[in-house]
């Protein structure tokens, strides 16, 4: 009973965080262009969720975040959902393999994940017949990586509170590696 209620709370909070990320993205971040590219809050919350709660949550969060983003874009529907789910899962796996959550690790991982997400998106785009210019990719990847690195620590803190986790669950991570 208590467990079900807590689960409901987590679901509600996750939904609110995703919606907030979407609105902030389209209302603010998408207008803050630097070097011809903008940051991506949806991939940021995906990475944060994966860092806090592992590959499972990362994939789910990525799927939901990507799907929400796809709703307001004109790009192929479902492409962000697919990309971000894969990225969330991969970040969860890498975080578990590294087994450390302090220092510069999350920052570096978030930056790399942001860049990888953009590359993956472009790659899958090419597969389904949307030839996004590859020449633009380095700039886009760099800008998204910088945004991710700058914001990952506070966003991870926010998600940790939403998921009701005071400490990163080392026991679980360790079990996963074994």
């Amino acid at each position: 009973m208590v467990l079900a209620e807590r689960r409901r709370h987590t679901l509600l909070k996750s939904t609110l965080i995703l919606l907030a990320a979407l609105f902030l993205q389209v209302a603010i971040v998408s207008d803050l262009e630097a070097f011809g590219a903008v940051g991506d809050l949806l991939v940021l919350v995906t990475v944060a969720a994966a860092l806090v709660d592992g590959a499972d949550r990362g994939a789910t969060f990525g799927f939901a975040a990507g799907l929400l983003y796809d709703l307001v874009l004109d790009t192929p529907f479902g492409l962000s959902a697919l990309t971000y789910a894969l990225v969330g899962y991969a970040v969860g796996l890498v975080a578990a393999a590294v087994g450390r959550s302090g220092g510069w690790w999350p920052v570096a991982l978030a930056a790399a994940a942001g860049a990888a997400a953009m590359a993956l998106y472009t790659g899958i785009g090419h597969l389904i017949g949307m030839p996004y210019p590859v020449g633009e990719l380095p700039r886009i990847a760099l800008v998204v990586a910088v945004w991710n690195a700058a914001l990952i620590v506070p966003v991870r803190g926010l998600l940790r509170r939403a998921f009701g986790r005071r400490e990163p669950d080392r026991v679980r991570l360790a079990a996963f590696v074994r």
């Binding site: 262009e33 011809g36 592992g54 590959a55 994939a59 874009l73 529907f77 479902g78 785009g125």
Partner: protein, 279 residues
């Protein structure tokens, strides 16, 4: 050692990936349900985006002040020089002629020579692309003003794109640089037709044509919409000018490389042509 059982995590990933692949497949077929859902989402997000515009304007300006510093400094320098020049001559005279010049430009924007008999709706671009891979902008006119999906969007210079989504007071314009964008074109002085397609931000358009390989197409030749029977665009809208040619994929005809005439990166006002293809 125990046999490792399949992790729940991997099952979930498989389900999510399958779900997204299904969505992509459905979306690529331009299913009406996807369009409806996206339209509904836009009616929710659009107003919030608009409301946030006013609040965030100072931050945005500060941001552009930082990121476009070089450009601003150059412009500042240019304006200073202009001002210095004005002090020498009769300032009033210059201001007057400047006003006349502006009036002429505005009239040119409103009076589209190639759309003489098509009614147009002037619209302001209220927000740029929403993601790094999006090639669409939002305008502040919608179905209430007679805008409908499929209508061509132009500036005085030429074609900008087409309306891809329209709600009551806002619509989305798919820009002609979108890799998914197609338009039938014709060289201004030749009979052959071709199809121009976008290739993403910062890239020129390409057009495959039926022009023989040995034909010399001079740089700067203009292209207009062909407007052949049942075309999605009326004939004669300027699209771009040829900046180069190359052998087409079949090796039989020329591909043209085209620079769009409209300034796609810096759109502020556009006109929607209230024109719809004949059924």
């Amino acid at each position: 050692m125990a046999i490792p059982r399949p992790s729940r995590s991997r099952t979930r990933l498989a389900v999510l990936v399958l779900a997204s692949v299904t969505l992509v497949t459905v979306g690529l077929r331009d299913a009406p349900v996807v369009r409806d859902v996206r339209e509904a989402a836009s009616t929710v997000v659009g107003p919030v985006e608009g409301a946030a515009d006013g609040i965030t304007a100072p931050f945005r300006n500060a941001w552009h002040g930082i990121t476009d510093y070089e450009e601003l400094r150059d412009e500042n320098e240019r304006l200073r020089q202009q001002l210095a020049g004005q002090e020498d001559s009769e300032a009033g005279e210059i201001r007057r002629s400047d006003a006349e010049e502006q009036l002429a430009q505005l009239s040119a924007a409103l009076d589209l020579p190639y759309a003489a008999d098509v009614p147009t709706v002037a619209a302001r671009v209220v927000s740029g692309p929403r993601s790094n891979f999006s090639h669409a902008v939002e305008i502040d006119k919608g179905t209430d003003d007679g805008v409908a999906v499929g209508m061509p969007v132009v500036t005085a210079a030429g074609l900008v794109g087409r309306i891809s989504q329209a709600s009551g007071s806002r619509s989305t314009v798919q820009l002609l640089i979108d890799p998914d964008f197609r338009v039938g074109v014709r060289l201004a002085d030749r009979p052959e037709l071709g199809t121009a397609r976008g290739r993403g931000r910062g890239e020129p358009l390409t057009a495959d044509t039926a022009i023989d390989l040995d034909v010399e197409i001079p740089e700067g030749t203009g292209l207009v919409t062909s407007g052949v029977d049942r075309s999605a665009y009326p004939p004669g809208i300027p699209v771009g000018e040829v900046t180069g040619t190359r052998e087409g994929s079949g090796g039989l005809a020329l591909d043209l490389i085209i620079e769009p005439l409209a300034d796609i990166e810096n759109l502020s006002y556009v006109s929607v042509m209230r024109w719809q293809p004949a059924e």
